[in-house]
């Protein structure tokens, strides 16, 4: 599903290189986890996959279903089925959450040649998803993410993921800031969508999330590259020993 | 369709025009720059309310008559003039004293890396740095500066060598004194070469109630990476009409801090023209003004970001207005089309202490580049009642509570001065002002 080959990335307009010869594959139906110390480049990787303009790809490719997406605009990537749950979701003052959700859902439907949702149909879907995630209705009327607590913002990301039905979801520390109940809800959300057609790349610092979302693969990232790949046991090992063994390996 | 307005000269304008030809012959240096500057004045006349930049400060009305340009004082006059003790006395590593716009003596030692030549001497000998005088286009056309150029009698040309970390402040004391009202015009040019660091302190003092007309200008040209600190203290005579101009031309990655403290004078106006000519410079420009009686004080500021990255400018102007006094703040941040990444923030806050006080704020943004973050804020009002109540509930008297609040309010603009002793002197002057106010209130004079 997602294939990253020999990716080199630096900050646009600066010399600072963040990702070096990064190679990573996520197969259809797979749930892959990335763990790694602060500043190792995990968020950068997620941004580059999604097409944030602040970064410059010096070398390498990112393929989604075999198509190189690096030349595509962020909205085209989204329409192609890519979703990024941001580590720090943006606040958009003045734009009601409902308005935003409708705009996003219809924009993607349009790009895929589907008809716009009718208002009742849209509201039905949003309400269903919001109920599932325990998001109160009045939050949907407030401006997107403005004044939301850390956990509320994360829930809102998952709500969007649910509504936009991506095939490839990248989740950047979605578990940070969530209470236990919300963590379970998020995990359920992922597990419910776990099937041969969907794939997930879950960035996290904590084993706890992986207790609920059993990953197929665990990657360790350090200083801009994947330094070790293994099964779920790798996460347990990191939990016990920390990143000490990997800091020098990079 | 536009009606041509024929200008009628005021008595002051007519007097200046009449005196200029004779005066310029006696003033040092080449006549051409003076003539050019005088032509600028001739074209505009003394600025009045109809001139946008002088909307709130009518110089034409304030200057009914043009006081005669002061002659060079003799030794006896100098001694009398310098008898009063300057609050900043002893702060400079080197101190140049000026009486009525003429250099009368230098105390202390000029720090290494620094050269200072009195302006009259520099003009007479054709000092090479004079080629850089008056070169800031942003300030061209300014009437106060033009008048200073036309009539400048003396001052200083200061050079700070590249990389010099100047030890101790360079201090300039300007005293205006005399049995009758006089006009003065002193001018300072300071060229700070790349990477140098220096602190310039100017103090303007006048005794008595006479309506002296002072006009001083300080030009700072800062080379790449220079760090310039500037402090100005205005303690003019009570009746003074005092104009002052600071121009700053900032090279790449320079840092400028300039603080003006204005306390006395009937009508004072301090103007700042700062241009970010090199990328990524930083400027902090502050003003602390305390007014009482019928005083009128004007702080006018133009900051132009003209290079990329546009750099960072911070302006903080704090004004306290008592009695029937009036304060003016006019500040403009200009961001030129290519000065991307400019970060400009300007604040003017005024506290009106009495019903008759007035404040005029005109903060402007003029922005031609898109990738900027600029903001201005302006507030005016009385002291915060709730805070006052809080302090009083802790047993502090009303007058004392007010004094505390005022002190911290204007103190914020003074605190950016890095030099501790000088900062303390200025805080002390604010406290002094507050003590006098408290005494006046206690005496019942403030009713």
């Amino acid at each position: 599903m997602l294939e990253i080959n020999n990716l080199h990335v630096k900050i646009a307009g600066e010399d600072k290189v963040i990702l070096r010869s990064l190679t990573l594959k996520v197969a259809k139906g797979e749930v892959a986890a990335i763990m790694g110390p602060n500043g190792s480049g995990k968020s950068t990787l997620s941004y580059v996959i999604a097409g944030k303009p602040d970064y410059e790809v010096m070398d390498g490719e990112v393929l989604l279903d075999g198509v190189n997406i690096l030349e595509m605009a962020p909205d085209e990537r989204a329409a192609a089925g890519l979703f990024l749950a941001f580590q720090y979701p943006m606040e958009i003052p003045g734009v009601a959450t409902m308005t935003f959700l409708k705009a996003a859902m219809n924009a993607q439907r349009k790009q895929r040649g589907q008809a716009e949702l009718t208002t009742p149909e849209f509201i039905k879907r949003v309400n269903a998803a919001a109920d599932l995630l325990g998001i109160p209705k009045d939050m949907l009327r407030r401006p997107l993410n403005v004044g939301f607590s850390g956990g509320e913002k994360k829930r809102m990301e998952i709500l969007q993921m649910t509504l936009l039905e991506p095939k490839m979801s990248v989740m950047d520390e979605t578990d940070s800031g969530l209470d236990i109940d919300a963590l379970k809800i998020v995990a359920e959300g992922v597990n419910a969508r776990r099937d041969p057609e969907h794939a997930f790349l879950v960035i996290t610092h904590y084993q706890r999330l992986l207790d609920y979302i059993k990953p197929d693969t665990v990657h360790v990232m350090s200083r801009g590259r994947i330094v070790k790949t293994g099964g779920p046991e790798l996460a347990l090992e990191l939990e016990a020993n920390g990143y000490r063994d990997y800091q020098s390996a990079a | 369709m536009n009606v041509k307005v024929t200008t009628i000269r005021t008595a002051a304008e007519a007097a200046l025009i009449e005196r200029f030809p004779a005066l310029k012959a006696g003033l040092p240096g080449p006549a051409a720059p003076r003539e050019q500057a005088f032509a600028t004045f001739m074209a505009s006349g003394l600025p009045n309310r109809r001139v946008e930049a002088w909307k709130y400060t009518d110089l034409r009305a304030a200057m009914r008559e043009a006081a005669p340009l002061a002659p060079k004082p003799d030794a006896a006059q100098t001694t009398v003039a310098l008898k009063g003790n300057s609050p900043l006395a002893g702060q400079g590593a080197v101190t140049l004293s000026f009486v009525n716009g003429y250099h009368v003596g230098t105390e202390g030692t000029v720090p290494s890396g620094v050269t200072i030549v009195p302006l009259a001497e520099a003009l007479g000998s054709g000092h090479p740095l004079l080629a850089r005088m008056g070169t800031l286009a942003l300030a061209q056309g300014d009437t106060a500066l033009a008048l200073n150029t036309a009539f400048m009698t003396d001052g200083a040309v200061i050079h700070v060598a590249a990389g010099a970390e100047v030890d101790g402040p360079i201090a300039l004391t300007f005293v205006t004194a005399g049995p009758s009202a006089i006009a003065t015009a002193a001018r300072v040019l300071m060229v700070v070469e790349a990477g140098a660091k220096v602190l310039l302190v100017e103090s303007h003092e006048g005794q008595g109630k006479l309506a002296h007309q002072t006009n001083t200008a300080v030009e700072i040209i800062a080379g790449d990476g220079a760090d310039v600190q500037h402090v100005r203290l205005g303690l003019n005579s009570e009746g003074a009409v005092a104009l002052s101009t600071l121009t700053a031309d900032l090279g790449a990655a320079t840092s400028l801090t300039s603080v003006n403290v204005a306390l006395t004078g009937a009508m004072v106006r301090h103007q700042v023209y700062a241009r970010f000519s090199g990328g990524d410079a930083r400027a902090q420009i502050n003003g602390a003004t305390l007014l009482q009686g019928q005083q009128h004080a004007d702080s006018t500021l133009v900051v132009e970001h003209a290079a990329e990255p546009g750099g960072e400018s911070r302006e903080l102007f704090r004004t306290i207005i008592d009695d029937e006094a009036s304060g003016v703040f006019q500040g403009k941040i200009i961001v030129q089309p290519h000065a991307q990444k400019t970060d400009g923030r300007m604040a003017s806050n005024a506290v009106l202490l009495s019903q008759g006080a007035a404040m005029y704020n005109k903060p402007e943004l003029e922005i031609f580049a898109d990738d900027v973050a600029c903001a201005h804020g302006a507030t005016c009002g009385a002291l915060d009642d709730e805070l006052l109540f809080y302090l009083m509930s802790r047993g502090i008297s009303k007058a004392e509570a007010e004094a505390l609040m005022i002190e911290s309010f204007v103190g914020a603009a003074i605190d950016d001065i890095a030099h501790e002793a000088i900062r303390d002197v200025l805080h002390g002057l604010v406290q002094e002002w507050l003590k006098v106010r408290a005494a006046r209130i206690n005496a019942g004079a403030g009713v």
């Binding site: 909205d75 989204a78 996003a104 | 946008e52 404040m359 005029y360 005016c380």
Partner: protein, 429 residues
């Protein structure tokens, strides 16, 4: 007229325009019809079509189409300075509300018109107001009697149709003690190569406890990409809060015109009176907008609030210019001003020129202004969710102007939102 010829053209606004040859603009152009139409149905369908294209398919169209809308709006349509039709007149009359053209009002209520006209904006006020006073032909007149809450929204259309026309209409609204009226003004003009001038005068008067809410949606032709053609919109709008605790609120959405130059103002005379100004000014292409307000605090305990949102794109220049002043007797006057500018693209300009004058220590004035470009991070976030760059921009801009849109009657807010998107078309990407 002779007074006007002797006034110099004002030069203080940040707009540049070739000097208008006033001899070249007809002072008055009656619509090319055989007498005034009895109803808007008689109006050229091409004009109605132009409404749609220009993005103002306002509810008035429903009225035209014979649809009975849920909330009715009484319309007075002014075409090329002549009031052609006023709807719902009879029903309004039942409530005692007078809503008609000024020319009719002069015939039917001469004493009222004479008492108030020119009392807020005197003939000599400014260059364009003088021009208007000299040549004005018609306009709308509204009178809300004591204690009456106007049963429906009132609305006027201004259209400039005729080639090279100057439109000089005059509006006068009087709200007697305890009354309320909400008034909406929509303006359109079809595309023309020549510059046309609009120099209207609007006067509002509120007595004790009365309130007037005046909303404008203006999308006159802005000229082509090179700045050719378009309307010069030089309007004088002023409200006088004459009575105690009265209120005047101006809301404007300005997206059209080659040059806009208007400062809807409020004179806060009555004790406890309140003035509000909510503005969205969008400029694109070669447009020049210089707009703002004046809040003149004269009475005790008067309050005012200014929210201005400027958006500049293309090669346009967008200036907020405003005055807040408290006179000596305006004890406890309060003002809050917030004025934000958003820049889209690097060839436009955004300028803020506030004058804040306080002559009493008991007044509290707070003013804040910011200028920034549209946030890249917000754009990226929206695009990650599948919105195009243009859609993302429109969404963020709508969020930016939300506080002001909320002040408009609901249906008009929706239209205004569309208008803003339309006028920003082509500014990104």
């Amino acid at each position: 007229m002779s007074r006007w010829r002797s006034l110099p053209e004002p030069t203080w606004a940040r707009v540049s325009y070739p000097q208008i040859d006033f001899q070249d603009i007809y002072y008055y152009a009656a619509p090319k019809m055989n007498g005034a139409p009895k109803s808007l149905d008689e109006v050229d369908p091409a004009i109605l079509d132009a409404y749609k294209k220009l993005g103002i398919p306002l509810r008035e169209q429903e009225i035209l189409a014979g649809v009975e809308p849920q909330n009715r709006v009484a319309v007075d349509a002014v075409f090329d300075s002549v009031s052609v039709v006023t709807t719902f007149r009879a029903e309004l009359a039942k409530a005692g509300v007078i809503f008609c053209s000024i020319s009719d009002a002069l015939q039917e209520h001469p004493e009222l018109v004479r008492k108030y006209i020119g009392s807020v904006v005197p003939v000599t006020d400014n260059y364009y107001a003088t021009l208007n006073s000299a040549v004005f032909t018609d306009g709308s007149f509204v009178y809300i009697p004591k204690g009456v809450r106007c049963p429906m929204e009132l609305s006027t259309y201004f259209r400039i149709n005729e080639k090279n026309t100057g439109q000089f209409e005059r509006t006068l609204i009087i709200a007697e003690e305890g009354s309320y009226v909400s008034y909406l003004e929509g303006c359109t003009a079809p595309q023309r190569d020549e510059n046309q001038l609009h120099a209207a005068v609007v006067e509002l008067v509120t007595m004790d406890d009365a309130e007037i809410k005046y909303s404008t949606v203006q999308n006159w032709y802005p000229g082509d990409a090179n700045g050719r053609g378009g309307i010069y919109n030089f309007v004088t709008k002023r409200g006088d809060c004459r009575g105690k605790n009265s209120k005047i609120s101006w809301t404007q959405v300005e997206t059209g015109s080659a040059i806009t130059w208007k400062y809807p103002s409020v004179i806060l005379r009555g004790e406890g009176s309140r003035g509000e100004f909510y503005s969205i000014a969008v400029s694109n292409g070669m447009q020049q907008v210089d707009s703002g307000t004046k809040m003149i605090h004269l009475g005790k305990n008067t309050t005012s609030r200014i929210i201005s949102k400027g958006i500049s794109a293309g090669r346009s220049q967008n200036t907020y210019r405003g005055l807040v002043s408290a006179h000596r007797k305006a004890t406890n006057a309060r003002n809050f001003t917030n004025c934000d500018s958003l820049l889209i693209g690097n060839q436009c300009g955004a300028h803020t020129v506030p004058y804040i004058e306080s002559k009493t220590s008991t007044a509290t004035f707070e003013h804040e202004a910011t200028t920034s470009k549209i946030s890249e991070d917000q754009l990226f976030y929206c695009m990650q969710r599948g919105l195009t760059a243009e859609e993302s921009t429109a969404l963020i801009v709508n969020g930016f102007v939300k506080d002001v849109l909320q002040q408009l009657p609901m249906e008009f807010a929706v239209e205004a939102q569309k208008l803003i998107s339309i006028s920003l078309e082509g500014s990104v990407g």
